[in-house]
């Protein structure tokens, strides 16, 4: 199967940021994103999703390297210090490179 390489950026963070993140991602050049609800634990303690303030979201963006870099830089600068947030990058293959 011939696929093209893209980056998958996965972000786990506070649900309160959903709207802000969506705006950021589009501004930074992502063509789309996927969100699901999550809960978890990390350096900022347990976030058990019992209610809004303790809920996480898990955001995925498939994009090219340059966009991934821009997203990484932006989130690091604006959110890492003050928000429960984890971000990681992986390599994925896609069939329609023009789409991402």
């Amino acid at each position: 199967m011939r696929t093209d390489d893209r980056k998958l950026v996965t972000i786990v963070t506070e649900a309160a940021l959903e709207r802000h993140l969506a705006d950021d991602l589009k501004r930074l050049g992502a063509h789309g994103y996927t969100v699901s609800d999550a809960r978890g634990e990390g350096s900022r303690g347990v976030r058990a999703a019992r209610w809004d303030a303790s809920s996480n979201i898990r955001v995925e963006v498939i994009c090219d390297d340059a966009t991934a870099e821009k997203i990484a830089a932006h989130l690091r600068a604006h959110y890492y210090d003050h928000y429960a947030m984890v971000m990681y990058f992986s390599d994925v293959g896609v069939l329609r490179p023009e789409k991402f």
Partner: protein, 315 residues
């Protein structure tokens, strides 16, 4: 045992189940349904009463209550800075929580009055709405100064368009526009079910509050002291204002309760966006882990006695 209203028992039940680390929890969707019904119902009730008031007649009360909403966080802030040695931004965020109000606490106080057949001014939900917001603005200014940098338009959006304020305001307006007769058909959901919905809500709040106890130890016992003493101070301020405004005993007690209560829905959400550097664990531990249980279990009867005391023996 008239103090053990069943809705308070539901709260204690949740608290105990949570402390025993039971598996019990209500799904988030259910929690949201319950809060939507509570907020709309409170708004509707207040709106129906508002329609009976001649326009403008409440203006003095409204202004006084807004001023109290601005003053309370200004009183809390220095205490948090000096005694709690908190950072500027953390002190400001907590002050905002305590200047604002808790809808759950208000609902329990109303149920407490109703079950004892104590009258109160039925337009009190309007005061609830008015008290939600001013403290948020004061908190932001305390943390940032009145800097040009602050994106006030964006902040106003977060604050005014947050769920709880929108639902309270929407309920108020619908109640005001429709009037009591037209609301008759929806009263089975919003009024008859209200105490049961409040009971389930308090069960979940008990579970959530129990979850906050763990962080109490971590964040020092200053928060416990503040979470009990500031509400008592707030109640004194609110009660006195109610008495000065000529409210009934029930209304005075409700204004005391509002002043004593601390927000755990609207303000945390607004602070997360407006003051991200503030540690949300601090304010939630105080507001949910200390003040909410204190008010529900101990405070409300105290505030009633305070109201009776202020109104003097003649009443």
């Amino acid at each position: 045992m008239p103090d053990l209203d069943p809705i308070v028992l539901f709260f204690i039940f949740g608290l105990v189940a949570g402390l025993m680390r039971s598996e019990l929890r209500l799904p988030t969707a259910v929690y949201e349904l319950l809060s939507v019904v509570l907020l709309l119902a409170i708004g509707l009730k207040g709106g129906v009463e508002l329609a009976k008031q001649s326009p403008g007649s409440l203006l003095p009360q409204m202004i006084a209550v807004i001023l109290m909403g601005l003053a309370l966080p200004l009183a809390a802030y220095p205490a948090l800075r000096a005694l709690g040695r908190l950072t500027r931004v953390d002190a400001a965020a907590i002050a905002a929580h305590y200047g604002s109000v808790s809808v759950g606490t208000y609902a329990v106080a109303v149920a407490w009055l109703v079950s004892r057949e104590i009258a109160f001014e039925a337009y009190m939900p309007l005061m609830l709405v008015l008290l939600e917001m001013p403290a948020i603005l004061v908190g932001i200014m305390l943390a940032r100064g009145i800097s040009a940098e602050t994106n006030w338009r964006l902040l106003a959006r977060e604050v005014f368009l947050g769920k709880s304020i929108v639902l309270l305001l929407g309920g108020l307006l619908i109640g005001w526009a429709a009037g009591p007769v037209a609301l008759e058909p929806v009263s089975a959901l919003f009024f008859d079910l209200f105490p049961g919905v409040l009971a389930l809500f308090l069960l979940e709040m008990g579970l959530v509050a129990a979850g906050q106890f763990g962080s109490l130890r971590r964040h020092g016992f200053f928060l416990v002291g503040f979470g009990i003493l500031f509400p008592l101070f707030g109640a004194a301020v609110g009660g006195t204002l109610g008495w000065l405004l000529g409210l009934s005993i029930g209304g005075t007690m409700l204004l005391a309760t509002l002043a004593a209560s601390a927000s755990y829905i609207a303000v945390p959400a607004a602070m997360r966006i407006a003051l991200p550097a503030a540690n949300p664990a601090l304010s939630l531990t105080a507001s949910l882990g200390v003040t909410f249980p204190f008010n529900i279990l101990v405070g409300i009867p105290i505030y009633q006695r305070l109201a009776e005391f202020l109104h003097g023996p003649g009443v």
